[in-house]
């Protein structure tokens, strides 16, 4: 049963290997409903791995630990089952699928999720009505729907497409993997507006990012520093600013001396 006390997501002592390399090394993180957490950290610290593992990407060995989403253990669930349960990953590098148009993928995805929840599937008209406003919000032109998924898109278009999908699928937990990278200022604003419009007490978010600039626009409730496969420092909004000014070295030194 989901109660006020049940966290949206609870990660306990998570150890993850890829091949011979240990990437996550005893990671703990609890995210309550309605919270936005930013995860920052140097390159190779395991930020993207965390997002991928939560979404159920194959190719990682989970050697220890537990992940529960709304009270349910999800580590044995297939990626689509996690998606249907309400976990959404905005990809750092959205994938191109030649010949499959955007509208088709998104409608099929939405209907697969609705079906899994026991809701009726939407027909083409209902679907168009639903995404029209989302497209306007993301400033996406309507001919975009008939183009192949991410094929020949600019970096900014790909990222806006991710947020369009998120707006349409209305997840409970959104994992945004470096959604700000490769965006110019205008695109960043559009993307940030999209993200902010989804914030509500029933929905949580994890923003994986290198830079502070997204966090100026999407204010996190918590900021964590990931280094060496675990969270080494947590704080509020001000921590991001400090990291932006001072880099990560001081955090790592602090951890080593502690």
């Amino acid at each position: 049963m989901e109660t006020d006390r049940t966290p949206m997501l609870e990660i306990v002592d998570l150890h993850v290997r890829a091949g011979d390399r240990e990437i996550l090394n005893g990671l703990n993180l609890t995210i309550g409903a309605g919270e936005v957490h930013a995860i920052m950290g140097p390159n190779g610290s395991g930020k993207s791995t965390l997002a991928q593992v939560l979404a159920g990407r194959d190719g990682y060995d989970i050697t220890r630990g537990q992940v529960t989403f709304l009270g349910q253990d999800i580590l044995d669930l297939a990626p689509e089952e996690r998606a249907q349960a309400g976990i959404f990953l905005a990809f750092q590098y959205p994938i191109e699928i030649p010949g499959v148009n955007n509208a088709y993928l998104l409608k099929a995805a939405l209907n697969a999720q609705r079906k899994a929840r026991g809701e009726p599937e939407l027909d083409a008209f209902e679907f168009m009505r639903l995404i029209k406003d989302n497209m306007a919000q993301m400033q996406i032109h309507k001919d975009f729907l008939s183009r192949s998924v991410n094929t020949g898109f600019s970096g900014g278009e790909k990222k806006r497409n991710e947020i369009l999908q998120m707006l349409t699928l209305q997840p409970r937990l959104a994992l945004l993997d470096e959604t700000d990278s490769g965006l110019d200022v205008d695109a960043l604003k559009i993307v940030a507006n999209g993200i902010n419009s989804l914030r509500n007490p029933e929905r949580s978010m994890i923003l994986v990012t290198h830079y502070e600039r997204l966090l100026e626009l999407v204010e996190p409730d918590f900021v964590h520093v990931l280094a060496g496969g675990r969270i080494v420092k947590s704080g509020d909004r001000t921590l991001a600013r400090e990291l932006d000014e001072r880099g990560y070295d001081w955090v790592q030194q602090e951890v080593q001396s502690a």
Partner: protein, 482 residues
């Protein structure tokens, strides 16, 4: 990643949905082939003498030929004396004039295949010349076609009612000497379709034939001839399924297309012969010769095919671009799963000035299948400014299958422009994960990606056929994840 590989093995398995046998009395010639059998077939069909003679010449020539071995396929030797060369549903000794006269069991068979014939004909405005085993049993929309002057009938009828047309065009594109299987077909062909579109006529509807192999151990030898006279236009659809069988069945069809000046023929095939079981036993051997002759200036022939069936496919729908400014097109999706073997492609022979051809080939391999594309582009010295564009893409599902490309390019004219692009790819883990992360089940994700891969070909198919082709593809690859 390793788990996904393991899934391939289990998931590729599925039973052929159209595997059943209709129980109908047959009028069958005993197995074996000699001149008497050929005379018997010809007599049963009340053929004019020139045709009997032509069959015999073909037979005598066939005796001098050896079975080809160059294709990238393997199978045990075929015993041509063990095959029965003629079978006709007995209850229809005189072919019925309407659907009401058709054996209800036959109609039931079509229903099982999801082809409600009368419905389909009425709703879709499609004229259907359905071939069941060797004799045509239902022909619809004849009147409407007759009004336009279009002749669309079984080959046997054509031989009786339009002998001059048959004599003029039969073997003019694929002579009986062409190859081993074409010679065999010419000697023993049982039935097929005949189309003649008179000058300047645009055929008022898509012409469609559904046929299937039904009698055990009966080789089926279809013969199709489509002639588009000057300035005419016709679109022909061919689709087939076959019931499950334990023994391999030989299918050696010949299709000849003739396009005269300014004429256009569009020939679409969705093919779903029984491919054999998971071990590759019992599937259809499909050795087909298909060729179109762009005989007149500005003529155009377009082949579109979606191949998902057969244990072995050996098939190269080709265009001879004789006319000035003539155009040849080949759009193909070939799927091979389990132990299927496909060696398929096309030939574009450029003879006329400024002739152009386009080849788009999409090969999909899954399971233990071997899928080969073999394509010839030949530019003759007379073909000034000829152009060809070839795009040949292969998609692999799993790691036990193979894709092979054998392009042959022969240019004997310096003004020719020939482009060839080829890619081989696997469905990427990234693509699958992306779709699944959005909530799609693995199989739906594979179907979506594969259909996307084939889109350039599917969009060439007539609308309803395109939907059917997609469904067929989904069924053929159910669970084949790589």
């Amino acid at each position: 990643m390793s788990t996904e590989q393991d899934d391939v093995a289990d998931l590729v398995q599925r039973k052929y949905q159209h595997g059943f046998v209709t129980d109908i009395d047959e009028d069958r010639v005993p197995p074996g082939l000699d001149e008497d059998v050929i005379r018997l077939i010809s007599a049963k069909k009340r053929e004019p003498e020139f045709l009997t003679e032509w069959r015999l010449k073909a037979y005598r020539h066939w005796l001098t030929m050896a079975e080809p071995t160059w294709a990238h396929v393997r199978y045990s030797p075929i015993d041509y004396q063990a095959i029965s060369y003629y079978a006709a549903p007995k209850s229809n000794a005189d072919a019925p004039q309407s659907l009401d006269e058709v054996d209800p069991k036959l109609l039931e068979t079509y229903d099982k295949l999801g082809i409600p014939l009368h419905e389909r004909a009425r709703l879709a405005g499609v004229a259907v010349d359905a071939v069941f085993d060797s004799v045509s049993v239902a022909t619809t929309f004849k009147e409407k076609l007759a009004e336009a002057g279009v002749i669309f009938c079984s080959f046997s009828e054509a031989a009786q009612n339009h002998p001059e047309l048959v004599q003029r065009y039969l073997g003019s594109v694929v002579p009986y000497r062409d190859n081993f299987f074409a010679a065999l077909n010419s000697a023993v062909f049982s039935d097929g379709s005949f189309v003649y579109v008179p000058p300047g006529v645009r055929c008022p509807m898509e012409l469609s034939t559904y046929f299937r192999i039904n009698a055990a151990n009966t080789g089926q030898f279809e013969r199709t001839l489509v002639v588009a006279d000057a300035g005419s236009h016709v679109s022909y659809l061919e689709g087939c399924t076959a019931p499950m069988r334990d023994e391999n069945q030989l299918h050696a069809a010949v299709v000849e297309l003739v396009a005269l000046e300014d004429a256009e023929i569009k020939y679409s095939t969705v093919q779903n012969w029984y491919p054999g079981d998971e071990e590759g036993r019992g599937g259809i051997y499909n050795f087909v010769t298909k060729r179109g002759d762009c005989r007149g200036a500005n003529s155009k022939i377009s082949w579109t095919q979606v191949e998902t069936g057969s244990a072995i496919t050996w098939k190269y729908p080709s265009c001879v671009l004789r006319g000035e400014n003539s155009v040849g097109e080949f759009y193909s999706v070939a799927v091979a799963n389990n132990y299927q073997q496909a060696d398929t492609g096309t030939k574009m022979i450029h003879i006329g000035r400024n002739s152009r051809s386009t080849i788009i080939s999409k090969g999909i391999s899954a399971g233990h299948a071997q899928n080969a594309y073999r394509g010839l582009v030949r530019i003759m010295p007379t073909a000034d400014d000829a152009r060809n564009y070839t795009q040949c893409d292969s998609l692999l599902l799993g790691s036990e299958c193979g894709a092979h490309t054998f392009p042959y390019i022969e240019s004997r004219n310096r003004s020719a422009r020939i482009e060839h692009e080829a890619t081989t790819s696997k469905i990427s883990e990234d693509q699958l994960f992306y779709c699944r992360q959005r909530g799609l089940a693995e199989e739906d994700a594979v179907n979506m990606i594969v259909n996307g891969f084939c889109r350039e070909v599917f969009k060439e198919l007539p609308m309803e056929f395109a939907v059917e082709a997609q469904n067929l593809l989904n069924v053929s690859l159910e669970g084949a994840v790589g």
